[in-house]
């Protein structure tokens, strides 16, 4: 049997163990991960995995392209070797399959109530950082069919989608709070862009400038980390090097500064035409009341028909850009290719094919810039203008104008070409193009889609819950004959802007506003002369549970009040509670956790 001394000894920690525990506590205290540091670690992981999933998509696309055409190598090269009938058949069948995937997939998904979005921008900006796995798979598979069969659309869309989905899954499985989940999805998007274009800085700035609308360090840090890691991972698989490396270019005459500066304005004025073309064709397709597979099929037929004569239109335009910068094209060839490529892109995009228009936009800008450069060379031969230089600057200027993100455009073109000599001209052109476009067009390529999705999300959030879900019961009330002393005491004791006045049956008679009485709260002479009925606003706005949150929001917009009284119905007017503007905004922001805390704190 152990003695008391022995028991005491056993309970005591050995000096070594005690020191180890102290060390552990010290380490935990010093190196405990805060949210920001944890986000950086997750950003690194997401950058790596984003590049891997993007590479997986590229490989899958190549395999599918081989299965469909029996050719390897670039899309354009593959199509050049195809017999004419196959140039038509491959995009047509591919687009039909892409449409069929969307059609079947969306029907299957529609039967499941989604709490997440399908779009990474929506998930970051207005959503809860959750991206639907099912819907993303449907989109990616559809994009695989489109892209591998030569549709004139960018692959950056599905690459970013996949990378963002992965980031969203990390947030979901780690059960991270909404703001951190959104931030991680933004990191995924940056990683997708960076791995698609081998452009780490532009990848981060694309998301910061276009999606987040801010370049503050707090949000930019993790984006940069994810972008850089994704780029390094992609380079490890594909090797280093800029996509469109360009030799150092410079002006041959100081007078050339004039056309070089003007190119920004010219392309800025042309950008609205490009965006309106895309929008018009999209609108045309939405008016077609036919199933989705046929819509995409029509897009495929048009691209296939053009490809019979000009196989260069197939794909996102990456091959065309390479050829534009490394071969000497005549102006009429460029113009012709520009027209057919624009037609193919507008039809593919308008038909609803999944993908992006980033690379097609780069090509359009580069082609317009090169044409401009050739015009300068023709009309002012003494300037000895290099059309290639104008092509590169034009690419950036057009990108800045259409995306509304001049900073990203400058960085993107610099990283794509690694030509520092063009940067000063590029900077001026991008800024001028941005302002040139803004004169005619208030919407940008990505902003427009985000605006639409934001509105849809907003309406969905409003429809999702009713006034009863946000109600705070037992609001502060006063009888109509409450003296001014009682009113003053209520306002002093509670931090409310309005106190509701009710009768014996709890019917709402009106509200006394602090704004009306605050100058008189210290007037003792009023205490017995004035009662609540004298100063209440009988027409104070009110809502009932029979109305929607949209109605409540409209009512809030017409009154300066933090809370609105809720009556059982607008006829009997019995007061059952109040709803707060803050709770409504928290709900609209999609932060259910914060909302629950706010409502439980109130009860």
């Amino acid at each position: 049997m152990a003695t008391t001394e022995e028991v005491k000894k056993r309970k005591r920690l050995s000096p070594v163990l005690r020191r180890l525990l102290i060390l552990k506590l010290w380490l935990v205290e010093r190196f405990r991960l805060k949210e920001r540091q944890a986000t950086l670690i997750w950003a690194t992981f997401i950058g790596f995995c984003g590049a891997i999933v993007s590479e997986g998509f590229r490989k899958a696309s190549e395999v599918l392209h081989y299965l469909g055409t029996g050719t390897t190598g670039g899309l354009i090269e593959g199509f050049r070797h195809l017999p004419l009938w196959q140039r038509l058949a491959v995009p047509t069948v591919g687009s039909l399959l892409a449409g069929l995937t969307l059609w079947i997939g969306n029907r299957l998904i529609a039967s499941v109530r989604q709490k997440s979005t399908t779009d990474y921008m929506e998930a970051i900006v207005v959503g809860n950082g959750l991206i639907s796995i099912r819907a993303s798979v449907v989109k990616v598979v559809s994009a695989l069919f489109s892209i591998s069969s030569g549709a004139s659309i960018g692959s950056e869309g599905p690459l970013v989608q996949l990378s963002s989905l992965f980031a969203s899954l990390v947030g979901r499985f780690r059960n991270l709070p909404v703001p951190q989940r959104r931030h991680l999805v933004a990191c995924g998007a940056a990683a997708g862009i960076a791995s698609a274009y081998n452009a780490p800085i532009a990848g981060a700035f694309f998301v910061a400038e276009i999606v987040l609308g801010t370049v503050v360090v707090e949000s930019l840090g993790p984006l940069i980390l994810a972008s850089v890691i994704a780029t390094f991972t992609t380079r490890a698989m594909h090797g280093e090097g800029a996509l469109y490396r360009s030799p150092d270019l410079d002006l041959h005459s100081r007078w050339e500064l004039i056309p070089m500066l003007l190119i920004g304005l010219v392309l800025g004025f042309l950008a609205p035409v490009y965006m309106r073309l895309l929008r018009s064709v999209e609108l045309l397709f939405t008016k077609l009341e036919i199933p989705v597979p046929f819509k995409l099929g029509i897009g495929g037929v048009v691209v296939g028909t053009i490809a019979i004569f000009y196989p260069e239109v197939c794909g996102n335009g990456k091959g065309l850009l390479e050829s534009l910068f490394h071969q000497n094209w005549f102006w009429d060839e460029i113009l012709l290719l520009l027209v057919v490529k624009l037609a193919a892109t507008a039809v593919t995009f308008g038909s609803g094919a999944v993908g992006g228009v980033f690379t097609p936009t780069l090509f359009t800008g580069a082609a317009l810039g090169t044409l401009y450069g050739q015009a300068v060379l023709y009309f002012a031969p003494d300037l000895r203008a290099d059309p290639n230089m104008y092509g590169l600057v034009g690419m950036g200027a057009f990108l800045a104008a259409t995306t509304g993100a001049p900073l990203m455009a400058i960085l993107m073109v610099f990283e794509l070409t690694l030509s520092y000599s063009i940067v000063p001209f590029l900077m001026v052109a991008c800024v001028l193009a941005y302002y040139g476009n803004s004169i005619f067009e208030k919407r940008f390529l990505y902003g427009e889609s985000l605006e639409r999705k934001g509105a849809a999300f907003f309406n969905q959030q409003l429809a999702e819950i009713s006034i009863l879900d946000l109600i705070r019961r037992d609001p502060l009330t006063l009888p109509k004959n409450a003296t001014f002393a009682e009113i003053a005491q209520t306002f002093v004791q509670h931090r409310f802007q309005h106190v509701y006045v009710v009768d014996k049956e709890k019917r709402l008679l009106g509200a006394v506003s602090l704004h009306d009485v605050k100058s008189f709260l210290d007037r003792p002479e009023l205490q017995t002369v004035v009662i609540a009925a004298d100063i209440m606003n009988e027409n104070f706005p009110r809502v009932s549970p029979l109305q929607g949150l949209g109605e409540a929001l409209r009512t809030f917009s017409g009154v300066q009040a933090e809370r609105l009284p809720v009556v059982d119905n607008l006829t009997s007017q019995r007061l059952i509670g109040s709803i707060s503007k803050t709770d409504l905004i928290i709900h609209l922001a999609g932060d259910q956790g914060a909302l629950k805390t706010a409502l439980s704190g109130a009860s």
Partner: protein, 149 residues
């Protein structure tokens, strides 16, 4: 600022010297009849109903024998006031009253209502001013007595 605005309302008020009434309702009706001529009153019957209803709730009375029957109602376009004096007290409930201010305030003018009421209540707390006001011959004397207080 507030004071001058309130005095302004006094100047524009209908003034009844030595009102002929033996009860609070009669006094109120006499003042309402004087106000009925004013273009600011769009519905005299509604104004009466609102004033009587407010009286039933909790008649606003000041120590020293002053009654302030009033109503916030949209039957007046802007603030209207009638002043009545009575050498012999009229019973408002159980309180003898010699000085009466009937005020009609539009619903949207809660602030103005509080300004006027506060002004009257602060100045009429003592009985000596009431004596001087009751003896005023016309509205000019009345306002002068107020100004001298």
């Amino acid at each position: 600022m507030i004071e001058s605005k309130a005095v302004d309302y006094l100047r524009k008020a209908e003034f009844i010297k030595n009102i002929e009434a033996v009860s609070d309702i009669q006094a109120i009706d006499a003042m309402l009849a004087a106000l009925g001529r004013r273009s600011e009153v769009t519905d005299a019957a509604e104004l009466r109903r609102a004033v009587i209803e407010r009286q039933k709730m909790d008649p606003p009375l000041l120590p020293g024998g002053t009654a302030i029957p009033h109503a916030r109602t949209d039957s007046v376009r802007s603030v209207v006031m009638a002043i009545a004096t009575s050498p012999s007290p009229i019973m408002f409930g159980e309180i003898p009253v010699r000085l009466m201010f009937l005020i009609g305030v539009p619903n949207a003018a809660a602030g103005e209502y509080l300004q006027i009421t506060s002004f009257l209540a602060r100045n009429l707390r003592g009985g000596h001013l009431v004596d001087r006001l009751v003896n005023a011959e016309n509205i000019q004397d009345f306002v002068a007595a107020f100004a001298g207080s």
